[in-house]
Amino acid sequence: MIRSIFAPLMVLLIAIGVHGLVGRYDDGYWINQLTIIGIAIILAVSLNIVNGFTGQFSIGHAGFLSLGGYLAGSLLYYGSVMFFQTRPEPGFFSFTQPFDRMDPTIVWWGIGDLFFLCVCLSAGLFAAVAGLIVGLPSLRLRGDYLAIVTVGFGEIVRILIESSQRQVPLSRLNRADGWDLVTGWGSAMGFNYIPKFGSLFWVYLFVGITILTAIRLKYSTHGRAYLSIREDEIAAEAMGVRSTRYKIQAFVISAFFAGIAGALTASSQGTINATELAFMKSLEIVVIVVLGGMGSVSGAVLAAVVLTYLPELLQAETFARYRLILYALVLIFVMILRPRGLMGTREVWDVFRRRRGVQG
């Protein structure tokens, strides 16, 4: 029993710790950086469940991100007015600024926190349903054909959002005709003025949950079934592994977390724009997964941290130009020299306890 609860508890404590410490001593720079890094981790680890664990190839992850982000955006923007008349009271957990700007009257736990949690989960579920739909073709398509379908999905999502109506100004929102208005996703202008709830606490809570899910999955019967499909689908079927069910399951789980990442993006930046979440964004996540290692959770985390923070470290302006060139070269060389990515399937801890008997 303790084993089961210990890790989630740690996740909760770490999330509170990161939020509390960084918020306490930072002027905003680190809050921003750590948010971006955290979201990248969620995206990479969740994509790894499909691309790394089951060996299917999805390059439409940004599509799920968009769906989650826009749903969360509209729930926060329109929903706040509809359900609460105004932005619901956030507590300590949803405070997105450095703490010295905090209103001293702020409560520990506001109704807004609960609201935001519900929003995140809805965004995840919404994306998960989309994941189910995208996962279905994986029953019939293999490898690069499936990849093209996922690209198609990402593009369709982007185009549909871009062609949506303009955002309805808050002043015109009221409960009476509110429902009719909730179609405006801001077209190509992006969806703006989203109430900010996505604090470091929420980001790292979900980072923790994502990583924990991926690891628990990998070291369980179900996760091993995923891996066996990646290795050899025909042999996996011959071992009684129902490959179709597991492949769809992987898509659904992966999309769920991408949707949550979308909610966190929208609510931490206050804006989300589908145009920026096009094919290139999906590719960037793929690059992270491939570099980290197809199937390695810790590898994906490391790659996400490094590839997100490296450009920042190396002087944004001059490096930005060469960043993607470097990515591209690294991608090509890794594929030629280390076909399974830098970490391969192994985890960081495997490297240390290689010869220490059988692991559980």
Binding site: M239, R355, V358
Partner: protein, 273 residues
């Protein structure tokens, strides 16, 4: 442990106009060791693929303990009790030896995905059970000290044995072995023969074996079925098979002077030219 019976009745498979297997029938029961032999391209592996659901038969029935299993998905057939190995080894190369066996044990797990993610008690119970079972199997096959190695890094003979161990981990009632001795050296072959004999004593299975190495087949099998051009040309005890005219002809061919006769026979059969 109740005895199981696999009945194959007149199964036929046609690939683009070419009949790969015609009217294939066989019965395998628990405790039996049957051989399936025939020259290259006779349709032996196709038979295995039909029995395990990789291909769907165009005609005929496959019954396991009286229940029809033809037309089902491979995973469903495996869970009903038929396991196999592959001619060209298909291990999960990037998984450890232990994990290869554990994947095959997954049918024993009763807990759901949610149980695994929340690490509910039944997850731990199932995992411990699976692990113990896998380790017992590996020990049985002499692979325990290699359990943490990647399957792809094992020596060839070990890979062949691991495939058998993995197939057994699904708790099969009927085990299909596709050329387990292929590529082995004579010493390994002798060890393999001993292993298979022992399996039959220790596990409640019936074995159907495809093998090219006649030493292995003749030594091991109770009964042998011979395929040629997708058709059964003989069945019987090893001694009978070795003396069967048709079998000798299928394997050695006939001398040029007897071709005329064969042509005559052939015209009566009306084979494709």
């Amino acid at each position: 442990m109740t005895a199981a019976k696999l009945e194959v009745q007149n199964v036929t498979k046609i690939f683009g106009g070419l009949t790969a297997v015609r009217d294939f029938s066989i019965v395998v029961e628990t405790g039996q060791l049957q051989g399936l032999i025939g020259p290259n391209g006779a349709g032996k592996t196709t038979c295995f693929n039909l029995l395990t659901g990789v291909y769907r038969p165009d005609a005929g029935k496959i019954l396991l303990n009286g229940k029809r299993i033809d037309g089902r998905r491979p995973s469903s057939i495996t869970s009903s009790g038929i396991a196999r190995t592959f001619q060209n080894i298909r291990l999960f190369r990037d998984l450890t030896v232990l994990d290869n066996v554990r994947v095959a044990c997954h049918l024993r797990a009763r807990h759901t995905l949610v149980g695994a993610l929340l690490r509910l008690p039944n997850h731990y119970r199932d995992e411990a059970h699976i692990r113990a079972h896998s380790i017992r199997l590996l020990e049985r096959f002499g692979l325990l000290d290699r359990s943490e190695e990647l399957a792809g890094n094992l020596p060839y003979g070990d890979q062949r044995r691991l495939e058998i161990a993995r197939a057994l981990a699904t708790d099969p009632k009927i085990l299909l072995l596709d050329e387990p001795a292929a590529g082995m050296n004579p010493a390994e072959k002798i060890a393999l023969k001993e292993l298979i004999r022992q399996l039959l004593k220790d596990f409640p299975v019936g074995i159907l074996l495809i093998e090219h190495d006649m030493d292995v087949v003749m030594d091991l099998c109770d009964r042998i079925t011979v395929l040629d051009y997708g058709q059964i040309i003989a069945t019987g005890k090893p001694e009978e098979i070795q003396c069967d005219e048709k079998v000798i002809e299928a394997y050695l061919g006939c001398p040029a002077h007897s071709v005329e006769e064969a042509v005559q026979k052939d015209l009566e059969r009306g084979t494709d030219v």
